[in-house]
Symmetry: C2
Subunit: 642 residues, 2 copies
Amino acid sequence: MADHTIQFEGAAEPVSVPTGALLSEAARLAGVEILQPCGGQGRCGRCAVQILDGTVRRRSTLRLSPADVEAGYALACQSVVEGDARVYVPPQEKIERRLTTDRTVAEVTVPDWYDPTTRQAIRRVNLTLAPPTMDDQTDDWSRLRRALRQEVGLDEVEASLGTLRGIGTALREGEWQVAAVLDVNRWDCDPCRPILVDLFPGHPPDDTPLWGAAIDIGTTTVTVWLVDLLSGEVRAQVAEYNGQIARGEDVISRIIYAGKSEQNRQEMRSLVLETINTLLETACKRVKAQPGEVYKVTVAGNSTMIHLLLGIPAGSIRLSPFITAVNHVPSSPAHEVGINIHPAASVDCLPGVASYVGADISSGVLSSGMDDSEQITLFLDVGTNGETVLGSSEWLVTCACSAGPAFEGAGVLDGMRATRGAIEEVWVSGETYEPTIRVIGSVKPIGVCGSGLIALLAELFLTGVVDKAGHVNLNLDTPRVREGEHGPEYVIAWADETQTGRDIVITDVDIDNLLRAKAAIYAGFTVLAENVGVPLGLAERVLIGGSFGKYINVEKAVQIGLLPDLPWERFQFLGNTSVRGAYLALLDPALRARVTDIAARMTYIELSADNTFFDAFTSALFLPHTDMLRFPSVEAAITRKE
Amino acid sequence: MADHTIQFEGAAEPVSVPTGALLSEAARLAGVEILQPCGGQGRCGRCAVQILDGTVRRRSTLRLSPADVEAGYALACQSVVEGDARVYVPPQEKIERRLTTDRTVAEVTVPDWYDPTTRQAIRRVNLTLAPPTMDDQTDDWSRLRRALRQEVGLDEVEASLGTLRGIGTALREGEWQVAAVLDVNRWDCDPCRPILVDLFPGHPPDDTPLWGAAIDIGTTTVTVWLVDLLSGEVRAQVAEYNGQIARGEDVISRIIYAGKSEQNRQEMRSLVLETINTLLETACKRVKAQPGEVYKVTVAGNSTMIHLLLGIPAGSIRLSPFITAVNHVPSSPAHEVGINIHPAASVDCLPGVASYVGADISSGVLSSGMDDSEQITLFLDVGTNGETVLGSSEWLVTCACSAGPAFEGAGVLDGMRATRGAIEEVWVSGETYEPTIRVIGSVKPIGVCGSGLIALLAELFLTGVVDKAGHVNLNLDTPRVREGEHGPEYVIAWADETQTGRDIVITDVDIDNLLRAKAAIYAGFTVLAENVGVPLGLAERVLIGGSFGKYINVEKAVQIGLLPDLPWERFQFLGNTSVRGAYLALLDPALRARVTDIAARMTYIELSADNTFFDAFTSALFLPHTDMLRFPSVEAAITRKE
């Protein structure tokens, strides 16, 4: 096979690749970063590049207009090299760092029951040992164990090889005065042999913090709470985009990417580890601690995130019958997982239920307390996947639907993340059909984010710009509705009002994608409710977790049929329930055991195996729903308008 | 500081080192191998080099004659670079590979009680799992545990992260037919949660071996026995010099070397790991197995060897009050220890008693069976250190004496290892004082090895060439006795009969070193016996372990007062008792527990803290002893001669 020379504009050196290589591979070789949010499947169109000289074979031009192709555009992930070429990579929409400290800081109150001396598994104890003499040549480790038995009452203490390597030095440097950090209760053993995690010279002041961390690995965002285990206080909260985003926006794309080679699997693992380790460093810096002083972490996240973190092949999650390798992951030492805290600290990944109902949900249920309440509660975590739990202290059922990333801006022509320049709220006049918009950062708009799309859809429906089926009514007397390149569309902002210099629109195709997403989520509720014979209306509380939920306008979400039509006071936004559950599990082994109990108690309903799901989904593909009796408040609003 | 250029003859490139560097460091930089058996302390003289041009500052010229220094010789480890130099490294006595298969193969009979299905902790079981379906989405790990519970009756099976990473692939490649390797009994837990060590696709034939290994790490020699755990048979025996020898011949030198820097400690660890891993590879090749198929190893060795293997600082072993970091080392996975077998296989280091009575002795006692016998037994392991155990099923006392390496040829002018060219047996005529010698390999002699030295000393004493105090009698009518460069000496071989072209002699200084070594060992017996009030003569058996012991002539060892004067039939050579004990512990967790019991039962007597030891040592500094009543058979032999 012949080799061809590909020169990327701006790259120092051309690269040489054989016939049949993809442009995206050539780019990586050249050190040119090209985002592939869909994982290189040609779905998202974000990897579009321009061919300046030479030609490539386009396997797909999905998301490229004929004009784009005419202008030389090609999708890097779908372009096969068959000759020399010169390629221009347009400036990509950078992943903006929207997550500032203020917006992500959750209010956390230390539970009033918390007592580090009875609840907490991690303990620090000061020891004063009798130095060895010729009459007492007991080895260091036995001497230390003897002191732990006699002074602290801990029997049969164990230690890893790594910890044993350090004890002799610590004992002598501290002149036989040392502090020991122990893990005395690992919730899944009874009795537990305590583990010596660390030993250091001297006796620190009693109020020296003892650090632990709760981590939520979201597909999009990773959150770390740094906790002083002595007081139980969350002393630092930090969050950052998951570094894996550059290799796929949703779990499916990432599984595909990771499954391509052992190297890719390692890369995905490294990417999320890098995010976690940077966050831990930042959090520690904020409280003047060292990451090596963190003695335990509890991790929540969906099943794919946990598999990728641990380097466990995740391929079977994606393929029918959708099986995880492991739901209940045993604790592993941090150095094996690759998290840069104390190497012997344990990393406790919370248990998940199934491929698409992961530890983030078990953890969320714990933090919601619904498993301990007599009230029938509907818990949902809206994100790329919509996971739903229905139940009470008596029973719990759960399901997940692949909502797709439409509400996160993907699959929508002018969709975008909730970053600066995103339209986040929309109102449409029922008379002039003119919109009023609110933009994040109060700048000229670039596109529309999730909450903006929900508001826009609700407003367009209530004003009759869009009909029940989601079609734009082209007969209205306004230039805002028109036949566009992609079919009927509504113009939200004119080119001269935008940052891009192009009209921002929503098309029939976009609306169809949004309807599919919201229908999937709503159908989930329906199937759960039908499965247990409990009408949705009986849900006494609707708890919404996930950071996405925080910015949703409940009224408008009900109006498009995303949320069930229940009195507003039943709705409650809980924020990041996943990290909150991990925090609780970090505080108390009994709560940790309860997460396992929750995961075991939840009956998982596989929607793709459920005939009723397709019917429920089809019925929900309308605004707000085929069956208007389910949405009396929306019916009333329409009637009022008419 | 200025840099200087050092050119080693034969090395491709000169190296540049700063003022103050040692020649030995420059040599390492230049890739020139210089042996440092004493660990770079300037004691052994083996690193002598010749300075051809330039000068070095000699910190010590110990072991160099004035003529040597005149000729430009310097000890590399004691020579400080202060200017450019050209250096010649004389051909060193290479560490010969004396250990051929034939001489090291021990006869091993599988104990008749052995039954892999009841005794052995490592089990292999074939499993056939129900494949997952949409109606049974149980995760892989739970599915596997369910099968282990239902098909094999094993509950609560655990696995490490590394093992979990492989199960999904194994299950699918095997189409849900797999073989699981489990560790079901770790002797120190009851009940034990079984550990899944490995899972691989398919069902192997029932007679496929299941590999384990017993390892003895001697200061000088490392021995590996590869065992088929199904039959219990030792299928390969291999041995090799411990790679650490180049950095010190005895444990003290090695502790000093390892303690100099973190890098040195890592180097010592790597050196012995390299030896072990090479041996395992050789052994596996011999039976057509892969090292990755070895699922457990049991390791014996003295306390220093175990510390250095595990990378645990050993400094406190050397300094009063002589404390080990850990005598009872917990099992660690092979990948953490660095032994290249299955990464999740456990490495079980047997327990030691004290700094100088290590796991090799606990293991030796197990294999001797003395802890289970009513007979009073004296067990000794003669090597660089002489460890002695006295006792029965009722009681066990032990001590160690630093015999020094004289019997291994170090500290003796013409001493050498028992390699080709070593005089291994000597007879001296009582009339002419002419010697008859036997040389290993039947070649011209180079020097004298341990068994040769014992024989030589006994013969010289019995023929009156050497007196009770160890002095050569210069008044004899033979050119073989003379005043040499180092004082009075006896010539064993004339220059024209030797490979070196120099006379091979034994000097008063050499004899003094040998007397000290044998006196230390004998004093050990004496103190032990006195401590328990049991005269040595009551010892019904004298069991001699260690490979050194194999070649000793008991009669001559008694004649010089190294062994107690007891009827010959009470002596028994057991060979390498350390690896034999490790083999037994590998076969049966109950025997493994017995080693721990033995280590706990042995009362350790610290000789350096015992006033009677010095007296016993001083009394034993004669041939055979001050108190001839202790050696009636020798007394009789002398009388006969006279």
